[in-house]
Amino acid sequence: MDEVIPPQLLQLKGITKEFPGCLANDRIDLDIQEGEIHALLGENGAGKSTLVKIIYGVLRPDEGELWWKGKLTQIPRPANARQLGIGMVFQHFSLFEAMTTLQNVALALPTINLDDLREKLEQTAEAYGLVLHPEHYVHDLSMGERQRIEIVRCLLQNPKLFILDEPTSVLTPQETEILFHTLRKIASEGRAVLYISHKLEEVRSLCDRATILRGGKKVDACIPSEESAHSLAEKMIGQKIEMVEKKSSIEKSGMQLEVESLHADPKQPHGVKLSDLHFHVSSGEVLGIAGIAGNGQGELMGILTGETGSPASGAIRMLSKEVNTLNPIQRRMLGAVFLPEERLGHAAVAEMTLSENTFLTSADQMHFDKRGWINWPAVANFSNQIIDDFDVRTTGEEALASSLSGGNLQKFIVGREILQHPKLLIISQPTWGVDAGAAAEIHRKIQVYAESGAAVLLISQDLDEIFLLSHRIAVISQGTLSLAEAAHEMSVEQVGLLMGMRHDQKSGNAAA
């Protein structure tokens, strides 16, 4: 920092924001210079989103100062932020699905002639290397394309500071590259980018500087390119991380899950139709199904658990038995367990105790149901065992599920399923929104359990997780599945390409 310092665009001094029961931002300092891409790095709950909302005028700080271009400023509302020249692309898009790209852009801008706007939109998109079709309807577009609309919409307002909140969580690796190219171009024009993420490799390759938050405090600042992903992760969570090692040779034995020619119609209005899925998982093996959210993972999970009824056609065999028409309880009795993506409200009931949540899936296998009456003391024992074995930080088995942090609750739920000693573990997004420490522990438990001879099907959008745990990898896209291939023969780029295409007929002859 001894060199010539470029002009300060935004400076935060001692920003503090308290919510009931939680100090979300604790005296945070931050400065952003013109022309830089600045990373705001931290785990879920570190205070990143709160800080950004304060900059964008969605929230007001309890204390602290905000300086814009060297002047003390207040930003009471998003409209003021936009006037100053702050633009933001949110993690969740705000687009109307039933309107075209052009109409969506027009909605956000002051009245303007649609023909002029179309021209401007095309110019801007081209200038930044963003492929956009003004007349296409949003509901037909991929997540990457939707994000481009948001970005162009933001750029048309000519912002000086451009904020992106977790922008790559819905993108393929290729789409991510395009985004990075655009962001570098934006920075080269002297605008600044504030890039919020917890993905370390991305931050390393893209960002000039990084500010690291943990528990609402600024704990460190660094130049990401001079760090390794490992050292960044340790700064982020504030402790040493043990990496898990995957055994490349595994002893495969019996086939525990076989899916053949599976077709299923969506049960919900905007659901994805599953067509012609083939895959199998053997004992001791982890099959990873990668894919971008909303490509049929939820539908596949529903069909596998038996929650959404039987498939239209095809066969699902669990532990050598056809289960097409079996309900979740019957499938569990065969020795399968399931873990859906949503923790609260699906895998667990928020307002129930841990013991009551234990009973949710273990009632029959663990014989807690005695002719319709519940053996609560036995359930409590089992819950305590889960808490001990999986290192769940809680006040005890009587604590409400909602009182646990995401990571601790996830550890509890994973423990609940694994300690039932299933032969088949079907798990979706096991570390979604979980802190890095808990995630590493969950990964280790899953891996150890697979090595002990269980078959594991892992459905995840997190490519790092897929590569870390899987022996074979398949990719789901638009309700179709690619042929599973050995993980060590696949690269991130290959998987990324598979994420963007349909896999019709590809796996048709390859059933095992």
Binding site: E63, P76, G345, V349, M352, G372, W373, S403
Partner: protein, 357 residues
Amino acid sequence: MLRLEPRVSHSSLAAWLSPLLAMLFTALTGALIFMALGKPAGTTLYLYFIDPLTTSSSLSEVAVKAGPLILIGIGLSIGFRAGVWNIGAEGQYILGALFGSSLAVYFHESTNPWILPAMLLLGILGGMVWAAIPALLKTRFNSNEILVSLMLVYVAELLLIHLVQGPWRNPQGWGFPGTRMFPDAALMPMLFRGYRFHLGSVIAFLVPILAWIILSRSRFGYSIRVFGSAPLAARYSGINPKKMIWISLLAGGGFAGLAGIIEATSTIGQLMPKISPGYGFTAIIVAFLGRLDPRGVLLAGMIIAVTYIGGENAHVSAGLPKAVTGLFQGIILFYLLAFDLLTHYRVRFISRTAGAS
């Protein structure tokens, strides 16, 4: 500007404090109303809330009134826990009375001791049949059970009026609407000479205990709670949603039907055009005042019964209009909902223009 912010945590103590506060505020509001009507607030409040608890005969009356409220309240609280909003208990109550009483009407000279148990069973069945209509429509066509069950109340009322004025009218009744008086064998035994406290009241006090054991210890009770608080988790667990909807409505209907036939065979002894002072609707207040917990419903049933008896007291002794009873029940519900809201949210006053600090 006023804004509601969700509280981070809300204790179960607050959940039980809320009905207590609601009753306290109801009494205070009542005092204001009495004063506005020119009545001495203290004396009238005493007449209303305390006097019904002072003599054995008025206590017996409270118990008799509490019976149907508790029974219906228990049934409703099972459904409400499961998130199934059966608002038509009044109709199910009437159908229970109709089904059960048919035996007494057609066998009006019977002395068979089994006629009463048979009537009770038929009463339960009648309530269930009426509740099965919204259950069928909801599980088949996803129609709204609130509307269907509510509208069926009016159908039930008209059916009752039609029967007691037409086919079931007492031939020796000088043309007044109403059935024959039931034979003795079809009447609930009174337990103490000189008091109206009867066997049906005993049933009403035993049911909550049974319901509490079932809800807290059985897998069925557990399933009901899971289905009500997290339908997706229930599906994941393997709980059949249609079964839960059916059971919720049938339980509500069955208990309301039981309450109806108990009322017909005890305090009334025949069928008349009007056999309920709105028990089916008041029981909704009872269920919520009792926090959908059988123990609470038992207590709440007693409290609301006091407002009925107190209302009559105030009508007779202080010359207050009878509508005061309904007014008080409404005020209780109003305060209860308000305090419930405040246990989950805090109210913040926010000025839109003020600065950051």
